[in-house]
């Protein structure tokens, strides 16, 4: 439901980066959304595309990739990918696990010509 406001934040960042590459053309925007970031990749890609159409680079490709949640156990140090909704360390059974990846929205890279 709020992917449009997220897309606006992405585009603000893209515009700021492109200001450093004046005169060049934006070909693609690569965004990574964590599986637990709360954003839906498909809706975000759609919203980014709508904003692209209004930008200086209407043909730029909007690529949104979902990244899995990576957890690290503070008890035993085991690092693993979350495959089920269960925040318990599979190695030691401890509950003190912390997501290190997969919680955020990241502007990974731009392609320019």
């Amino acid at each position: 439901m709020h992917e449009v406001s997220l897309a606006q934040a992405v585009w603000r960042q893209v515009a700021a980066e492109m200001a450093d590459h004046a005169g060049r053309r934006l070909v693609a925007v690569h965004v990574v959304v964590g599986a637990m970031s709360g954003a839906d990749p498909e809706s975000l890609e759609f919203a980014l595309g709508l904003l692209a159409a209004e930008s200086d680079w209407p043909d730029a490709d909007m690529d949104v990739r979902q990244e899995p949640v990576v957890l690290v156990c503070r008890g035993c140090g085991h690092e693993y990918e979350m495959t089920e909704v269960r925040l318990v360390c599979p190695a030691c059974g401890g509950a003190d696990v912390e997501p290190t990846r997969g919680m955020e929205l990241r502007l990974e890279s731009l392609e320019v010509e």
């Binding site: 439901m1 934040a9 980066e17 590459h21 954003a39 909704v85 502007l107 731009l110 320019v112 010509e113």
Partner: protein, 228 residues
């Protein structure tokens, strides 16, 4: 030939920036700000009514309340004795920092002990919107079923306490308290308490009031620690 520019930048939304401003104001005022999230009808307003009745004598409480279109919640909370400002989101599915910043202008924050922010009933979108709060509560209720924690892990994972309301209804539902407790344990941050209560009968409410008092003290210490 296109050149690839690697950025790896976390997107900080406009809302995150506003939330940081709100958080600073809440710290400055010396109050405890609590964001309540739940699905519609779980009992956020009932919990605030009960809180108003029991704690208004000792603590200076106020609330802002998010609702799509009506002011029914704010009226209920005010009738129970807590000043409350209604925020109508006009169909919006969550509160954002801008709405909260506007609504809290109704209060002299420095004269409050606890500010409650009752979010729009929804367990998806509110979880992604920081409102500058010190503590975040997820309220769920027994008729909703015992698997809510694993169905909405982002919300439950972000909670500092989980409230299970309507425990008086367990005998007439298929709700399994054991299953619920396990689901909660599986998704919440370590040490996050589960407060089982009924706003209707009053059972378990004391633990909620104790938790609030403890958080007031803990947040005051955290804020003082950051200033040093």
């Amino acid at each position: 030939m296109a050149e690839r520019i690697r950025l790896e930048k976390t997107i900080v939304s406009e809302n995150d920036r506003l939330a940081a401003v709100l958080a600073a104001r809440f710290d400055e005022a010396g109050l405890l700000a609590v964001n309540l999230m739940s699905s519609p009808g779980a009992g956020k307003t009932s919990l605030l009514e009960a809180t108003a009745r029991h704690l208004s004598a000792d603590l200076r409480l106020a609330a802002v309340d998010g609702d799509l279109a009506t002011d029914r919640d704010a009226q209920r909370i005010q009738r129970a004795g807590m000043p409350c400002r209604q925020i109508n989101t006009g169909g919006g599915c969550h509160l954002n920092g801008k709405q909260v910043a506007e609504a809290v202008k109704a209060f002299d924050l420095a004269r409050l002990d606890i500010l409650f922010i009752e979010n729009v009933g929804n367990l998806v979108c509110p979880a992604s919107f920081d409102l500058g709060e010190h503590r975040r509560i997820v309220v769920s209720s027994t008729p909703e079923g015992d698997d809510k924690p694993v169905k909405y892990p982002v919300a439950f994972r972000s909670a500092d306490a989980v409230v299970l309301n309507k425990i008086d209804l367990i005998p007439v539902t298929d709700f399994s308290l054991d299953a619920y407790r396990e689901f909660v344990r599986d998704v919440v941050k370590p040490g996050v308490p589960l407060l089982e209560l009924s706003c209707k009968t009053g059972e378990g409410l004391d633990a909620w009031f104790d938790w609030l008092r403890a958080q007031r003290a803990a947040v005051a210490a955290e804020v003082a620690g950051r200033r040093e």
